[in-house]
Symmetry: C2
Amino acid sequence: MTLDTNEMCAKTTISASESFKQNCMWLNGEEVPFEENARLMRCLEGVQRLALANGDIKFPQSWKLHIASCNNFPTAAGLASSAAGYACLVYTLARLYELPITEELTTIARQGSGSACRSLHGGFVHWRKGELEDGTDSIAVPVVPWTHWPNMHMLILVVNDARKKTGSTKGMQLAVETSTLIQQRAKQVVPQRIKELTQAIHQRDFKAFAEITMRESNQLHAIALDTYPPCVYMNDVSHAISNFVHDFNEAAGELLAAYTFDAGPNACLYVLAEHVPRLLAAVQLAFPNDCEQSVEYLKGIPVPQLAQHLNGVGDAALAHVNPKNLLKYIIHTKVGKGPYQLSDDQSLLIDGLPLPK
Amino acid sequence: MTLDTNEMCAKTTISASESFKQNCMWLNGEEVPFEENARLMRCLEGVQRLALANGDIKFPQSWKLHIASCNNFPTAAGLASSAAGYACLVYTLARLYELPITEELTTIARQGSGSACRSLHGGFVHWRKGELEDGTDSIAVPVVPWTHWPNMHMLILVVNDARKKTGSTKGMQLAVETSTLIQQRAKQVVPQRIKELTQAIHQRDFKAFAEITMRESNQLHAIALDTYPPCVYMNDVSHAISNFVHDFNEAAGELLAAYTFDAGPNACLYVLAEHVPRLLAAVQLAFPNDCEQSVEYLKGIPVPQLAQHLNGVGDAALAHVNPKNLLKYIIHTKVGKGPYQLSDDQSLLIDGLPLPK
């Protein structure tokens, strides 16, 4: 699910000019290496090749580029900022070379950061694994646009973690090499679940969506644990959140929320818009925090009816109350429309000058 | 691996008498229900049936029993005290009815507590899953006696844990019903690993033994996580211990230690006797504790050369130092010879009186 750019986004401006002496890139205002960045170069060369193949080049390939990019992501939160960044980069390169968003373009974004291929589309997107050795058929295809299920919201619970990290790319490579369960997952479980999950999305069946999502998240981390040496991304707080969601759903008598964990301890909770106040109030009760009144603690879409839920009896009595301050902050966001072009006055580069604003 | 009774054991005395009015049982000095305890009754009736089938009954079946049992296990540590208790009970019943330790007897112990069947033997024991619907061929068979690998030692790291517990029996039933990976594990992985592990034990190949053991432990917990809702037995401290063991082995340049985790957060570290001082010194450095000089903290077999290892450079520099007091205490033990009969003066019942000592 591509998230709404209102809450979390990357922005990129790219200029090409005969007058630029060299390729330059600025990330959040700091100059960063360009030609030495293999991922960046793969994306740039991929888009240029595509433009050449289309035979309609707007400017000479020899012109150098200035790229300025920034994101409004909370720093170091493990919230897939590189996926957003590379999707935004490839989308912007495609605008520069006047290329449409094609399946081939998603394979180029994938070479910057795997999951970046999905973020070229809005709504719900399926990253197909493909069958070919060279990976050219490993593409991202839209399932439904964001308008199909506009009330699909998400609470991101950012937790503290001080443990040694395993990168997700290294972890997955190691899993493929050493897990004796991953073949069963890849051959049997995933194809079946993709079918069921796609159907649940088409039918806006939250209950089915929620159960498949939670089982999938758990199995991803089970495979990581079956890797040798084991990769552990979730921590005790993550598991406390998972327990909380199961308790919350049990108290509600139906599946109103679903968790998913990526290659880190933070939880993404899927919840329909109408249940956000109830879920958030329960989160606040189960995970008390000294900062819970602060705007820095509750980021993103405001939740107006929260106070009455907090004051009600609700799910409070049923939830296990965890120690204070296990969460760093919470972001409330929703399904989004994917990347789009901003007006020129929002450019990150100063007109005619090789410097970012 | 059956542990040495010198460090951790259960003791049971059983008397049968025409004069006893009713069946009674005392556990650690407290009277506990007898006829209402289904597990106890299954074991008693199983042994009586076996004695009848043998046709050599030493006293009328109508005589009532007095059973006194105690164990020296640290309380509530999740250290399989019920497996030890039921193995000891069935062993003692077998002595009372003068029955040998047969495969059939292990199926009776299994009905008290699953893993109790293994503890009727010493050394290394294989609990066969069996093929029959009625479970009568799910028996425990000795692999090698303790004398085959007498220098196989174990450090049990008991960790603190305040989280909600899932019982191991309930957890395993749920895994069978809901995990989509458990069939792959049961059909492919476990049979192959049992073969390899048995061979490693026969050849006293610690390296192979260690790797299979760690992979097995990880996969057991992976399956628990793939259960729906997920079962989580390891906590952050457990994973810190697992990381420590991998770091320790890497620093040593060979596999000198192996972890295994049961249905709880405590770690059992396999290590050969000659490497205990080095491993224990590294544990002390990686998991500093305010009580580390106390005899209550370091239980079991004394480790005389520990001081020189602690003072040396050793593996200290290579190990990640965790926060203080993550461990409750450490038990140093080793492979044991299994249950045996004590002398009469060690009886837990007062001669001729229906009361425990």
